[in-house]
Amino acid sequence: MRENKERPQDSVEQAPTAVEPVHPLLEVDGVSKHYTLRRNWLGRPEVVLQAVDRVSLKLMQGETLGVIGESGCGKSTLGKMLVRIEEPTAGDIRYQGKSILGLSGQELKRYRSEVQFIFQDPYASLNPRQKVFDILAEPMKVHGLYEGERLNRRVYELLDMVGIPGAYSERYPHEFSGGQRQRIGIARALSLNTKIIVCDEPVSALDVSIQAQILNLLRELQQSLGLSYLFIAHGLGVVKYISRRIAVMYLGKIVEIAGAEELFRQPRHPYTKALIDAHLTVNPRERGRRMLLAGEVPNAINPPRGCRFHPRCPFATDVCREQEPGLEGDGGHRFACHHPLAAAKGASAP
Amino acid sequence: MMRMIGRRLLIAIPVLFGITVLNFALIHMAPGNPVEMYINPSMTQQDIELRKEQLGINDPLPVQYVRWLGQLLKGDLGYSYATYQPVGEMLSGRIGPTLLLMGTALVIAYLFAIPVGIWSARKAYSWFDYSATGFAFLGISIPNFFLGLGAIYIFAIQLKWLPTGGMYTLGKQGDWTDVAMHLILPACVLATGIAGNMVRYVRSSVMDVLGQEYLRTARAKGMSEFIVINKHALKNALIPIITVIGLDIPLLLGGAVITEQIFQWPGMGQLLMQSISSRDYPTLMAINLLAAVTVLAANLVTDIAYRFVDPTMRD
């Protein structure tokens, strides 16, 4: 087993434009999700899949925090922990200052009425045997928010908000297109006292032309309803369009986190740069300067020693192979790298 | 794989245990006790009580169960209340005929069904296919006893080709041709249901395989149709059929009871019916136990065969 020489993740972050310290709406504090795949005969873990390892971040009121990374980096698992579809094996998650991990019963129900989730697969996320009307009405009934005529009106209101004609409320999900189903999913997520929506790759399964529509819808809703989003995606273009801040994940850890503009203008972590380069090669002249990564994403079961990115990093040195870098940096831009890329401002501490 | 088999065997033990308990409880829930069946006017109340005491009926049920289980583990199946013979002896006398009947039925069924099924698949949607499917459905829809009665009517009474029942003609013990004559009708009747199932199963299995890509490749390579079918298609199509064999055994057990009744075949089925009406508990329990163990074994074998056939199926 490798030695643990890294520093504890420091989780102080500030919103770029804050004048006074604002409390985060949702705070993730050193959260890990380790799956024990095999135990030896004594019961001690032998093979552990580290899907998420000591991740911390904050979601502020009204903002969209994007989370990107390749398949298997743990972003989906992280999202699921936020709505307690999965439970963290370490760390804490706090909503409005209070931990959500110990909640149960009525309190958990209240949390769920304020923090919702949008799934990636619009075909699988709706009950094929329920009419759209019932899909939207049921959550409100269960939480006792509306009933009778007010309930009906509220359902049509929701459909209207997402651009589905009210007349379609008697139809079944299979009668709708993928984009429409996703809209219904969004409407469902809005049906309660929703303040936060965790979006797990909500447009990845849709046609490109539809993606823009859904993203616009999400933006409009955010503005009109004051929602906060945690937006998980693997496509840079999508995330850039909708996020104010972006966190980059690799193999279960956050490797860089910054404001969206800043991240694209000045990525400090080599992995981030590689992602950006892979995405933005429209200009033929720039292709030569692309940073290409060698190899494939290694297995989260036995992560590499030291910096998890070192096997694929063109700048890796001995210290990278031995010591895991902590998340360092100032203000709004932080990164975990021993040899961050050149920056115009800001010190990089090894 | 071996681990899985081991695990299944291990799980089978409590199941077996549960079976014996249920068996025991079931049979002793029957109203009336064995002594009642044999009361004659000359017996006094004392005699009755004495007999009950002798048979151990007055003891509390759990005690009786433990006693029975203990004897069972020593290989002693007890004595029949009706004939006072050791149950083990009675059973062993009857097992032979039943096995003969079941085995013959199985062989007849498969010998008929597999080729018919294959040919049906090859000539799908032809008149042969439709008639075969029709007969298959008929086979599973006609109850054993009706078919048996009909068969006796036609072949034994009207045509007088075959005897009406029993296993052998009196005085002709040990004459195999005689037994065979007696065996034909009941075995065929018992075989129909199994054959019916099998025909449709083989047909569907072979049809699936015939449409497969790798066969098209083989044909494209110029192999003769004969080789294509027999070497490649059949091998794959017949694998899952092995698993069905394990399932037919419990069916045969049930069907045998009725068939033996109709044809007066001296097997376990007949013994079962007799034991039920005479409340012969020890015999009943022994037969039930034997049948349950057989079914358990058949299920186990089938489950294991599944894993070979379809590794994606996990419990």
């Binding site: - | 029957a30 109850p143 006893f145 009665l149 069916l251 009871v257």
Partner: protein, 319 residues
């Protein structure tokens, strides 16, 4: 020939195994769109069913039997309990003759439909309800509850169907209700297994996770979300179960352990044929009830086959 419910369930499962062994890997690749498309919606199931000629024929015949059973008092020419001169051959007054105690065979035949259908539908309803409850609980809660319930299922399944029925009926006494009860109490294991398998696969679908995220309680999720998506596999199994139940009732009544005269059952009408002289000389006594059994079971089997082909478009066994 009786097919026990175990046999049907295992056959269904084995047939799936056959398809996989024969290489239908793609159908299990689990692409999101494919999983929706593979399960047809109700309207197209109906249409597919109607294309299956034998199934439609079966449905027609079965409907006639149902009508016959329901309207028995109006349709039957005589009172089935009324005794008279025994063993009369068919005549103008008794179209199918009379049985050993002089009861009109045709009337008994018509009332016999009631018995068979009651047992068929009744027993299946009982064991479907039991099986669904057990299967859903085992599949949803998993872990030790699942283990215990599945062991129980194994134990009950290990008993050879007919033997246990015989023993139980001899305990409880022969009657219509008892047969329904016994068949119901013994027939649930295959259903429980199928339902459990279905629940296990539905449990992990995203709309169930969505229900959790929306704060729905376990009971609500089980009943309103999992259950409706789990019922179609058992439809076919239940249909074949009706056929099996009819045969078993007939067999039991024939052996004198089921429905007893004077109540009419096609099975007990065949009982007197065990006598050689009735068998050879009086075919009108036993041929009609036997044919009725075959008709009833055959039609239900065709319906089941049609349903099976209609629900799963990948299979096409008969046209």
């Amino acid at each position: 020939m009786e097919q026990t419910p175990q046999h049907q369930e295992n056959r269904q499962v084995t047939e799936n195994a056959a398809e996989n062994a024969a290489g239908h890997a793609a159908s299990r690749a689990g692409k999101p769109a494919a999983s929706q498309a593979a399960q047809r919606q109700s309207s197209s199931v109906l249409r597919a069913f109607l294309r299956h000629r034998m199934a439609v024929a079966g449905l027609a015949v079965f409907s006639i039997l149902v009508l016959m059973a329901v309207f028995a008092p109006w349709v039957s020419p005589h009172d089935p309990y009324e005794v008279g001169k025994g063993f009369q051959p068919p005549s103008a007054e008794h179209w199918l003759g009379t049985d050993q105690t002089g009861r009109d065979i045709l009337s008994r035949l018509i009332y016999g439909a009631r018995t068979s259908l009651l047992v068929g539908v009744g027993a299946v309803s009982v064991y479907v309800i039991i099986g669904v409850c057990i299967g859903v609980i085992a599949g949803y809660f998993g872990r030790w509850i699942d283990s215990v319930l599945m062991r129980m299922t194994d134990v009950v399944m290990s008993f050879p169907y007919l033997l246990v029925i015989l023993v139980m009926v001899s305990i409880l006494g022969p009657s219509l209700q008892n047969i329904i009860i016994v068949l119901g109490i013994l027939g649930w294991p295959p259903i429980a297994r199928i339902v459990r398998g279905s629940v296990l696969s539905v449990k992990n679908r995203e709309f169930i996770k969505a229900a959790h995220v929306l704060g729905f309680g376990k009971l609500r999720i089980m009943i309103r979300h999992i259950l409706p998506n789990v019922l179609s596999p058992i439809l076919v199994n239940a249909t074949f179960g009706i056929a099996t139940a009819i045969i078993i009732e007939a067999s039991l009544s024939f052996l004198g352990m089921g429905v007893m005269p004077p109540m009419s059952s096609w099975g007990n009408m065949l009982n007197s044929a065990q006598n050689i002289s009735t068998l050879s000389a009086r075919p009108w006594v036993w041929l009609p009830p036997g044919i009725m059994i075959v008709l009833a079971v055959l039609s239900v089997n065709f319906i089941g086959d049609g349903l099976r082909d209609a629900i799963d478009p990948k299979r096409k066994t008969t046209r």
